[in-house]
Subunit: 225 residues, 2 copies
């Protein structure tokens, strides 16, 4: 029985899970959620996602929300498929701890800083075409992000990926939002010669076939050839 | 050999780990980091915390940063001590997935919304006593937080805690920041009769002896009587 991903083809959080589905070569059916008609705030949807968001995974009666939790679940359950080692062996206490450390870095040193830039500078205009971004706020967030990327450079000078020398879901989690930043900031802060290790890491992530498969929209995938 | 926590007695993130150390009854030594002299931005500190933050755990030569990662590591390593079940059995794939889901809820539906309120409304004045909070921004964030707490109510109507019917580190992670919100907002959004399950959960968390032990500052603890 095929996995179902309740989501939106162009949603960045649906793409985050889409990347992992493609890395692990897991067939799935995208079940569209109709935001235009308010389906995401309906009682039926709130039963499976209490915050009225997407995506939600449906795996033979088991429902799970939050894109990062879904990704980690899939990478654990399908450890033997596709790209190996996207999550650590949780019996290895120190490897699991370094993975959790990297997860928090992505959440609080990247996403928490980058997301407000995108909310005001990119997503707001879709809800309200007359929205004028707060440039002073965006500049301040971008400056904070530069400082955070200096921390990323310190990490990636010592190891190839955020959790160690193996690529994990945490590295891939950056793709949906970091690729949108240049549209707001006019330049790609992650691709800067003053942080050569970050730039190399970032170029490699963008070249993954999994990103090519979902960046223009997540679609149901019956099989991988 | 005693664990070392490199941190600051009054730092909210150091308190987050302090709660877990007390719940698990783990002796530890607080090693103060001197922010006043800029120690957190020194080359020595950046080697163990690439973003120049606190806290950092030192466990017999193993260094780990990020308060949530440290907390999960300690709750896993010392599963047999103190409060049981603060992290799930990671061999139980679905229980682990529900725990990850709850972790993301805390990170993105609570922390990402609450933290900007505290940064502008509470912490900024310590760096710059002349800082005037942006009340319009704070009001907008508070409105978003109210919507998120409606999601919390939907979860806690169905189960006792965020990851299921057992308290986990994720519930406890709310304490350091959520207890500061009333000082900015003039009321406690988490203690509201229109969300009775959230209010009950929140009162119970604040009554934990572990919170009483660290709320006025984290201190080295040689033993638990």
């Amino acid at each position: 029985m095929s996995l179902k991903l309740h989501g939106i083809s162009m949603s960045t959080c649906s793409k985050r899970v889409g990347i992992i589905l493609h890395e692990k070569r897991i067939p799935f059916t995208l079940v569209p959620v109709d935001f235009a008609s308010g389906q995401h705030k309906s009682p039926e949807h709130l039963k499976i996602q209490p915050f009225g968001q997407v995506p939600i995974l449906e795996d033979d009666g088991f429902f799970l929300f939050e894109s990062r939790a879904i990704s980690k679940y899939l990478a654990t359950k399908y450890a033997a498929l596709g790209t190996p080692g996207l999550v650590p062996d949780f019996k290895d206490l120190k490897a699991a701890a370094k993975f959790e450390q990297a997860s928090s870095v992505e959440s609080f040193d990247f996403e928490a800083v980058a997301s407000p830039i995108l909310v005001d500078g990119f997503f707001a205009k879709f809800k309200n075409p007359a929205h004028i971004p707060d440039q002073a706020f965006i500049n301040k967030q971008a400056e904070t992000l530069e400082g955070k990327l200096d921390g990323y450079e310190r990490i990636l000078t010592k190891q190839k990926y955020l959790a160690g020398d193996n690529i994990t879901v945490v590295d891939l989690f950056h793709l949906p939002h970091a690729t949108l930043l240049p549209a707001v900031l006019g330049k790609d802060l992650l691709d800067n010669e003053k942080r050569p290790h970050v730039a190399k890491w970032w170029k490699e992530l963008q070249a993954r076939p999994s990103w090519a498969a979902v960046k223009d929209g997540v679609n149901s995938t019956e099989r991988y050839d």
